[in-house]
Symmetry: C3
């Protein structure tokens, strides 16, 4: 039987996702156990992290396991990911060896690898984590590459805690301003999970340039069809917020300008009014607000929104701990 | 009941300090236990550390717990501490979220945040750790900001191991030269704990510019009054050392020159003779010498002093492990 | 009785090495235990690491212990190693204090400290780890300085897994090209362990300039004599490979050019054909290939060699975990 990884929720059926969320809720009620006793997970960070690292490290500890934190290129050797190359550049080591050796040491490998932000046609191939999955002989977990499936589960769990069944809920994924062009990973992931949970999803963004990659738009359409929801794009703030049950905010760079970010900057700068504020939230159906964090206050959302009872971003962040325990124990279980 | 932190020994009564020291001595005799079983502490280092990190991480491990080490701005996101600001600078995240999220993950948060060394009127507000204490919903521990209360306990324990009751002992806190203007934290802390233990304390420094912040001088006066000791300032090396039971050395930058360090440099350079050497120690009452470490040999103290039996700096460093176990278990106990 | 360290296999008799390898094989069969319960090891990395750090950290965990990872000069204070100096440079702390304090906290200290690559007459003194061993009051383990004894054991174990008794096997240590002049540590270590196991060892390198330091050549001669093997130098690729049972590859800078690397570069560049490829391996006696990793593919060895069944580099890397458990438990046992 082939090894199962956790690279994207799109590889998991709705019922498998539901089972992971139930297991996560069980861990939330009863956080300690021995499900990972003696087991270990390598956490490879090609990019910084606070919540992800803390929640994975702690998740392993709570269940009797141990996390090893590695930062390749900083406290470990830089890695080559392309096959069949003459390694005369910076990389001292090939993913084939890294993944095979780590697989001898640990029981799970988790990877964070953001895009390079120069050429989306390259970044969208998600080559780093795919190479780990190709060469590793233990399960691989996505800690955010061009999607962020652990965040999806944490988000879905936080919403279910508020609403119970999510089918038919009105869900707005709103683009917001940020001084830098950011990764689309969490936005892609929001589309995937919101449609998978059968919600009526609106992607709100300033212009058609900010629509997400066609791969994730298509997955969203397919998920909506299979789970009784819908997916549409809007550039009208008031229309999108009106009656919403959920507002999820994220900033990202427009894909047509990928690698030519200076040319995108004027449009981004012209849309600072996409900030989530009390006036916009007042248009919703007493809706909840969330964000994956880190969040720049008074840039993406106002202090008033962040500090209001409708903000569930802290719950979502806490849930990272619980859902990742569910993912780790589920992947360990297959071996 | 409001949550109790460990931000400064000044928040703790003499009998509470004595109880922590007794608990620490008990841990020194019996280092392993399950007092922190399944519990976790986040160690946030805005500045480097060797002893602090090792002793906290090990303290948690010895008692069944686990420490998560985070370096914000290096392997985690940079943090904003001011309230109500538009976060358009470097910080990607606000302390409100950082502290609240960490509080969902861990049972204790420990923070090291040195001054910025530009404006003492700002640094003396100790804004970073106060912000953690304000937003966190778990106890916060000071791992050195503008005071270093864990070092105080380790120091006091090492002295009690030598002397038993410390009341009435002659204690000299001597400034020493160092090529850089250093933090006053350990000097402030030495004043606080030495006066709290009822010793007769002399602050020895080259000129009145090197007297410590009035807040800590006043706390020292108050402690001395309450505990039967005294506090005085001296610029006379021989007078200060004569008959001393304890010599504690530390270098720090003169507060009136804060942020204008080039102007302080000539005075600092002119006082290299404050180095603790055998001739000075010979003036004492067969006194002990200590220092918080790291210490530059033959700059702050000579090899002969460091390697003599009267040097208890290694004992003091070891005691960090024991006193921090006492602090952690005491804070966990209140929940 | 004086404290025993693990600084070089040359301090260990053949039968002691055999016992460590047997213990390692036992840990490979049964990886979990409580041999290090409540014990801790400090891992000090002055240079980057992936395998070493992961395998030590995990080895401690598997046996109930805990590893503390420190990077002096990065997340800990820079350290002075020379005795009796006035510390007015960059170092904030002397090895005397570092080693003594760590010895109060942990049960083992492991150190990685590469040469500075400026003056071999200095680097060959191995001053950093010797200073740790001098001042520490707990056992010290070499995680690679100018030899790499843990790698030696892992290598020997992998060979014994293939061949059983190694006496009389034909062993080639071949220099290979690498864009940078690398450490001789693993090459020195290969000589030490291959001769200690009684193999017939050929050091293959482009010119006499690439022969290793006389200290290790002499140890190799002595080991060969004591264990029934031999040691010779060759500059003839075909002759060296013909009939070999083991090919071990490593790149290193030529010692006569130490610190004047630009002058060595033309010779290094002229010998890229030392790469281990299928044609060379075809000359062997169906031999195995190994390397300590990290390895630049298609520079030191071709993809075909790395991916062939005769490559045992991954086994060797895995064995780091097992042999280091044997080393740690053996050193702990003496206390």
């Amino acid at each position: 039987m082939s090894l199962r990884h956790f690279l994207t929720t799109q590889d998991y059926s709705r019922s498998e996702i539901d089972a992971l969320l139930e297991q996560a809720a069980a861990f939330k009620r009863s956080p300690r156990g021995q499900q990972l006793a003696g087991k270990s997970v390598a956490l490879l960070f090609f990019n910084p992290s606070m919540r992800t690292r803390t929640s994975f490290e702690l998740g392993a500890f709570h269940l009797g396991g141990h996390a090893i934190v590695l930062s390749p290129g900083k406290d470990a050797w830089p890695i080559e990911f392309r096959p069949n190359v003459v390694m005369d550049g910076e990389a001292e080591e090939h993913i084939a060896e890294v993944a095979r050796v780590l697989s001898r040491y640990v029981d799970l490998i988790a990877v964070r690898a953001f895009p390079k932000f120069q050429d989306w046609s390259i970044d969208r191939e998600d080559a780093v984590i795919k190479a780990f999955a190709q060469y590793a002989t233990v399960p691989v977990i996505n800690m955010e590459t061009i999607t962020h499936p652990c965040q999806e589960l944490a988000h879905a769990l936080a919403l279910k805690e508020r609403f119970g069944d999510l089918t038919g809920r009105k869900y707005v994924l709103t683009w917001t301003y940020h001084p830098k062009p950011l990764n689309t990973a969490v936005a892609n992931s929001a589309l995937l999970i919101a449609t998978k949970m059968g919600m009526d999803v609106t992607l709100l963004c300033p212009t058609p340039d900010y629509v997400l990659d066609e791969r994730y738009m298509a997955f969203g359409e397919q998920n909506a069809k299979e789970n009784g929801g819908s997916l549409k794009v809007s550039h009208n703030i008031e229309e999108a917020y009106r009656g919403a049950d959920v507002v999820y905010a994220k900033s990202w760079g427009a894909l047509p300008f990928f690698g030519r970010w200076e040319q995108e900057k004027p449009t981004r700068d012209a849309n600072k009014h996409f900030i989530v504020d009390e006036a916009k939230m007042a248009l919703t159906n007493n809706g909840v607000f969330s964000h994956c964090l880190p969040l720049r206050r008074n840039i993406k959302a106002t202090d008033a929104v962040m500090d209001s009872p409708s903000c569930i971003a802290i719950d979502e962040a806490e849930n990272r701990l619980h859902v990742q325990k569910a993912v780790m124990t589920s992947l360990i279980g297959q071996r």
